[in-house]
């Protein structure tokens, strides 16, 4: 067995009442079908009403830690960039 036969997959799970898929972990599988099935065994215990996404790790492009500053610097000194000057209505729950 080599890693090219059994590449790494990232698993995202949405729980029954969850609103979005959350990264749950990773696993090895020969293809997407088996990755899905393995993910179900490993991360959901076959609980019903959940949704699973599997993505080959090689398909994910991550931001580089080296570029952290220019990439994520929130420009805190420019408050006009942040939408913080209005009240959120009570009815809005998941903003």
């Amino acid at each position: 067995m080599t890693n090219t036969d059994w590449p790494l997959w990232e698993v995202f799970v949405r729980s029954r009442r969850g609103l979005s898929h959350t990264h749950a972990g990773s696993l090895h599988a020969p293809d997407a079908d088996l990755a899905l099935r393995n993910a179900r065994d490993l991360y959901t215990r076959r609980g019903e009403g959940v949704s699973i996404w599997v993505v080959p790790s090689s398909a994910i492009t991550a931001s580089s830690p080296d570029e952290k500053d220019p990439f994520f610097e929130p420009s805190a000194d420019k408050p006009y960039r942040h939408p913080t000057f209005y009240e959120i209505p009570d009815g809005v729950k998941h903003l």
């Binding site: 067995m1 059994w6 696993l27 090895h28 599988a29 020969p30 079908d33 088996l34 099935r37 393995n38 065994d41 490993l42 076959r46």
Partner: protein, 240 residues
């Protein structure tokens, strides 16, 4: 729970199938080809053990039935007691048996009999077992030359044990002939997609298995039981 004789006999037959196959799959623990498969086989073994517990409890005390009966008193199919062999053998056994079990439980769940509540729960588990076996049959059969050859050999080696599954079980009210027809069509379809041909050997008659339900078992089953029952027989009456 007291049940009539036919239900008692049927609970033993179906319960022993699940118990024995569960034990065989448990033997894979720590030995599966990859970690993910380890979890899958253990999952299936646990499902089967759960079914065995419910069924054997219908027939009596589950522990007494599992640990204190001799080989001749077990009513499981000879198919499920077959040694694990290589991974292909285990998958072929799973394919044959889980397809059968899925069809059987779907029938039982739809009926009104004493097994309907158990079957309604089990049918979902078994659908997963069947899917698992089919997925691996496709991958091994349609994989490399080596995996194809191993899967072919496994399917042929276990073929003669498949006719026994459709001997009517007393107390189980299903159309066994229809079950067998559907089973054969399903297995033929999966093997075809896996680029494997349906084995040519006989499934019933001479040179086939068929007496597990009567308590006659193959040689390796005795050794399996010796291991399974060892502790309980060494310390009878202990609680644990």
């Amino acid at each position: 729970m007291s049940v009539d004789l036919a239900t008692h006999a049927a609970a033993l037959a179906l319960g022993d199938d699940a118990l024995v196959l569960s034990h065989r799959l448990g033997e894979w623990a720590g030995h599966a080809p990859v970690l993910e498969e380890e979890v899958a086989l253990a999952n299936i073994a646990l499902d089967l053990l759960g079914q065995a517990r419910v069924l054997l409890s219908m027939a009596g005390d589950e522990d007494e039935l599992a640990y204190l009966r001799g080989e001749r008193a077990f009513r499981n199919l000879q198919l499920v007691e077959q040694p694990n062999g290589d991974f292909a053998h285990t998958i072929a056994r799973q394919l044959y048996f889980s397809t059968y079990q899925h069809l059987l439980h779907a029938e039982l769940a739809a009926g009104e009999g004493p097994f309907a509540p158990l079957a309604a729960k089990a049918v979902k588990e078994v659908a997963y077992h069947r899917d698992h076996a089919e997925q691996w049959t496709l991958r091994l059969g349609d994989g490399t030359d080596v995996s194809h050859e191993r899967m072919r050999r496994a399917c042929e080696a276990l073929w003669r044990f498949t006719g026994e599954m459709f001997q009517p079980v007393e107390g189980v009210d299903v159309d066994w002939t229809a079950l067998e027809t559907t089973w054969l069509a399903s297995v033929t379809d999966v093997l075809g997609r896996a680029t494997l041909s349906v084995p040519e050997g006989p499934r019933t008659g001479a040179w086939t298995a068929g007496a597990g339900r009567q308590g006659l078992h193959t040689e390796s089953f005795g050794r399996m039981l010796a291991e399974m029952q060892h502790l309980h027989r060494s310390h009878p009456g202990a609680s644990w």
